[in-house]
């Protein structure tokens, strides 16, 4: 009997037959993640419901040298959670919040806990979990840790890395390790720092201890509208340079505004604007209005037609809903969508946005920009029809040109979405072969056999001592 034929029953012995999916038709929904355009068929899907089941699954796969891909909610935007003919381990049933400690301002959660569910659990204590990816209503903390996820409010409060105190992880070989220290300072190598953002290549988090943040005393949300993207970009640069740190500073261009306003997520954005800035200031009540007035003045000086301040929580929520659902709104326009995630120095926003506009014009494609302007983290979205080979080729060429322009401006290729499959080809643009080889060596410390999320993050050819992808044991 081969491994291939006996694996489903071995896994079923651990998690039960209903938690193992082996038929291709059952696995269709797991063939892609949040980024349409890539489809990979998992060989098997296994969905443990408890920590013990997860541990047993990982150890079984280790014994049999079988590669696997961990997956949270599958909302990632880099193709990172796709399992190409290997075992997919779904973590979305490990949803227990193990503890919320309002004194220490810490929570311990299983990897499948949904981001917003954690904040909901912390709300009674006046606390929240700060990293807030746009997909926060669906994405999981385990996935956030794997991707070192960001979100609009990371401008002031930092990304996932800054909010994770400790992780208990199971390594691909089945060993359980504790990284970081929630009881005090951590000494020695920052293995937790290495684990956060390792895109599922270093192991699977069994539990995550995160920091909870006190809710700010006051929040003000401003909507500034501009007749040109360049003016909005200049306002952004002015605000950042002023030293005021907004909680969030988001930009949406005209194409995005109109897509949102035509959708069920309409937020009341001015449809004749060429750009809007959504700016949030928060903190102590004392002195906040002074900063609001300064930011309002900077927007007006840069050319804002109007600056509107949300009057109440309902209006604020509506303004944010339009931003957070913008990707969804664009889905109405085109059958396919690609999105990039480059980060550029913030002073370069005006000229890089102009370059993107020029590239789009020349390649005859439509780029919608909705992004974290305060961080310089761009999200150019390109809608297209994948059944039109000519359009697809132009989109592909534009993507490369945009990425090259961002790198040339001193930027990086991904700020929060991760490399996954989607940006593997761009790694050579920013890292030398020596740096890539160092990353390979680091991966091998956690996973010498490279069985966890194989083929992701670092291009195969970069690993000097790479001996070719190990064949899955069942094909041997």
């Amino acid at each position: 009997m081969t491994v291939a034929s006996e694996l489903p029953s071995l896994l079923a012995a651990i998690v039960g037959t209903r938690s193992v999916l082996a038929r291709p038709s059952e696995l269709v929904v797991y063939r892609s993640d949040g980024l349409p355009g890539y489809t990979k068929q998992p060989r098997l899907g296994v969905f443990p419901r408890t920590r013990d089941e997860l541990v047993a699954v990982v150890r079984l796969l280790a014994e049999r040298s079988i590669p696997f891909v961990p997956r949270g909610a599958g909302t990632g935007l880099s193709g990172g959670a796709l399992a190409d003919d290997v075992v997919l381990i779904g973590l979305n049933r490990l949803t227990r919040i193990l503890s919320v400690d309002p004194v220490e301002r810490l929570a311990v959660v299983e990897p499948g806990v949904v981001n917003v569910a954690l904040t909901r659990a912390a709300t009674p204590y006046g606390l929240h979990y700060a990293p807030d990816p746009s997909s926060q209503a669906a994405c999981t903390i385990g996935g956030n840790v794997a991707e070192n996820a960001g979100g609009p409010h990371c401008l002031k409060y930092g990304v996932t890395l800054n909010h994770v105190r400790a992780v208990t992880a199971i390594l691909p070989n089945g060993e359980i390790v504790r990284l970081g220290n929630a009881e005090g300072e951590a000494d020695g190598y920052d293995l937790l720092g290495a684990f956060v953002g390792s895109e599922g290549c270093f192991g699977i988090a069994l539990d995550v201890t995160v920091r909870l943040s006190p809710n700010p005393q006051s929040v003000r949300t401003l909507l500034a509208d501009f007749t040109s993207v360049g003016d909005a970009a200049r306002a952004t640069s002015e605000i950042i340079a002023s030293g005021i740190v907004p909680a969030a500073l988001e930009m949406m261009d005209g194409a995005t505004i109109r897509a949102v306003e035509a959708s069920i997520y309409a937020a009341g954005y001015p449809v004749d604007a060429e750009a809007i800035l959504l700016i949030e200031l928060d903190g102590l009540s004392a002195g906040l209005e002074t900063d609001v007035a300064r930011v309002e003045a900077m927007c007006k000086t840069a050319g804002a037609r109007t600056v509107r301040i949300a009057r109440d929580e309902a209006e604020r929520a509506r303004l944010w809903q339009g931003r957070k659902k913008a990707f969804g709104a664009m889905g109405r326009i085109s059958p396919h969508l690609v999105v990039q995630d480059a980060v550029i120095p913030r002073t370069r926003l005006p000229d890089v946005l102009a370059t993107i506009h020029e590239i789009a014009h020349r390649q005859r494609i439509t780029v919608c920009n909705v992004f974290h302007a305060g961080d310089g983290n761009l999200h150019p979205n390109i809608g297209y029809d994948a059944n039109d080979p000519d359009e697809q080729a132009r989109v592909h060429a534009a993507m490369r040109e945009i990425m090259a322009a961002c790198v040339a401006a001193g930027g990086t290729i991904t700020g929060e979405h991760g490399i996954g499959l989607d940006k593997l080809d761009y790694m050579d643009l920013i890292f030398s072969s020596e740096s890539l080889a160092a990353m390979c060596r680091l991966r091998e410390v956690f996973d010498p056999d490279r069985r966890a999320n194989p083929g992701k993050v670092v291009p195969v050819h970069s690993c000097r001592e790479w001996h070719g992808v190990r064949k899955a044991a069942w094909n041997a």
Partner: protein, 415 residues
């Protein structure tokens, strides 16, 4: 509150600065080859490759201000980075800066202040040290509870690994998840995975107002615990909230009794409101902001330094432990209330810790202890090794397989 006199401050600052320079661990001068003084990353690579060929360990030296820290490094050639200096890239509007590793924090501070900005890494030890050493040792200071420690503030770095490769992690932009995190890996590794050659950091705008106040503190542990609990939910957002032992308060010329010093920053209204909020908890008096820089260089030349940390709820107890330890060793203590970390500085007598202090140190094991400086003889008993797990050893093997970079400083010499 009694005020310090200008004269004593000058003397104190001067002494402390001089002390740190002379605090260097004695090196085996006769046996060691001449120190290497690279001026470029290519030089560093050459030196490391030469060390690999000859199997000669390297002692990495930034500005030489804190060489007494960490476990002793034996029989090594010094690689001194004080020639690898200068700001490589600084665009004020981006609030980011890149400098070569040997650049002093003082030089960076001077450059950024011209644009109303600062590097909020204000580590214990002052600004005479280098950016590279600050990152390598993950040295934090009083502002790290709000503005971040090196792992939060460093955006990217370049290093020469123990296999002689030049690697770069991260970048110069404020958000970056490209590739596995070589940056975090090298921060706090004390140079044992690579000689840092360049570091990029996030800057902040200098606050409009920057005022510090001292709050009187009750002596009883339970009363302190109650105060700390109430402070945690007070409408304040201080940059730093540091408790100072009475002996330290006296040394700094701020008075005679234990105080909590709050650094309040922001616009005028925000600072005034926070001052008012703090006044609800007791007597509040103004303290010169300059105090923070003096606090950073308070360590005498020959001393042991230990940090004790604990869960927030237990910090009053940890502070009591720190105070007892300081008293036993005739030293001083201070602690970050925002991070729940106490730091105790114990002066040596004739190059060693008094036995009462050693006994008191043994009694601190309930807290998480991180030792910065100790007499060489105490390391094996108190903290022999922090590269003890299989993963840590694997990381060391991957980046410095020959154990040539600062061997032993983390207690990681191959058995």
């Amino acid at each position: 509150m009694a005020r310090r006199t200008e004269g004593s401050v000058e003397r104190l600052t001067f002494d402390a600065a001089a002390a740190r320079t002379t605090a260097a661990a004695p090196l085996p001068a006769a046996a060691a080859p001449a120190a290497a003084r690279p001026t470029s990353v290519a030089d560093v690579r050459e030196i490391v490759r030469d060390a690999i060929d000859r199997r000669t360990p390297l002692r990495i030296v930034g500005r030489g201000t804190w060489l007494g820290a960490g476990r002793p490094v034996r029989d090594a050639r010094r690689i001194e980075l004080d020639g690898l200096t200068g700001i490589v890239d600084y665009t004020p509007g981006d609030l980011t800066l890149t400098a070569r590793a040997g650049t002093t924090l003082a030089e960076i501070s001077a450059a950024t202040a011209q644009h109303g900005q600062w590097l909020a890494l204000t580590p214990w030890g002052g600004d005479a040290g280098s950016l590279g050493a600050t990152a390598a040792t993950a040295s934090a200071g009083p502002m790290s509870g709000t503005l971040g420690a090196p792992r939060d503030i460093v955006l990217g770095l370049e290093a020469v690994t123990g296999v002689g490769d030049i690697i770069r992690g991260g970048g110069r932009v404020v958000k970056n998840v490209a590739g596995f995190d070589l940056t975090r890996l090298n921060i706090g590794a004390w140079g044992t995975l690579g000689v840092l050659t360049e570091v990029s950091v996030r800057l902040r705008g200098l606050p409009e107002q920057d005022a510090s106040v001292a709050l009187a503190v009750p002596n009883a542990e339970s009363a302190l615990a109650d105060l700390l609990a109430r402070l945690r939910t007070a409408p304040i957002a201080p940059l730093a909230l540091e408790i100072l032992s009475a002996a330290l308060v006296r040394t700094l010329g701020l008075g005679t009794d234990t105080v909590i010093v709050a650094r309040l920053a922001g616009n005028a209204e925000a600072v005034a409101a926070q001052r008012g909020a703090l006044a609800q908890f007791g007597d509040v008096s103004d303290v010169p902001t300059e105090m923070w820089n003096r606090l950073r260089v308070i360590e005498p030349p020959d001393a042991s330094t230990v940090r004790l940390s604990s869960p927030v709820a237990r910090f009053a107890e940890t502070w009591a432990t720190a105070s007892r330890l300081a008293a036993a060793g005739d030293g001083v203590a201070h602690g970050s209330l925002l991070r729940a970390v106490a730091r105790v500085i114990l002066p040596h007598a004739d190059g060693d810790l008094p036995s009462a202090a050693v006994d008191a140190l043994q009694a601190t094991a309930r807290d998480v202890r991180i030792f910065e400086r100790l007499p060489a003889s105490l390391w094996p008993a108190l903290s022999p090794d922090v590269v003890s797990g299989a993963l840590s050893r694997g990381v060391r093997d991957a980046f410095d397989p020959h154990r040539l970079l600062n061997p032993g400083i983390l207690g990681d010499a191959r058995a």
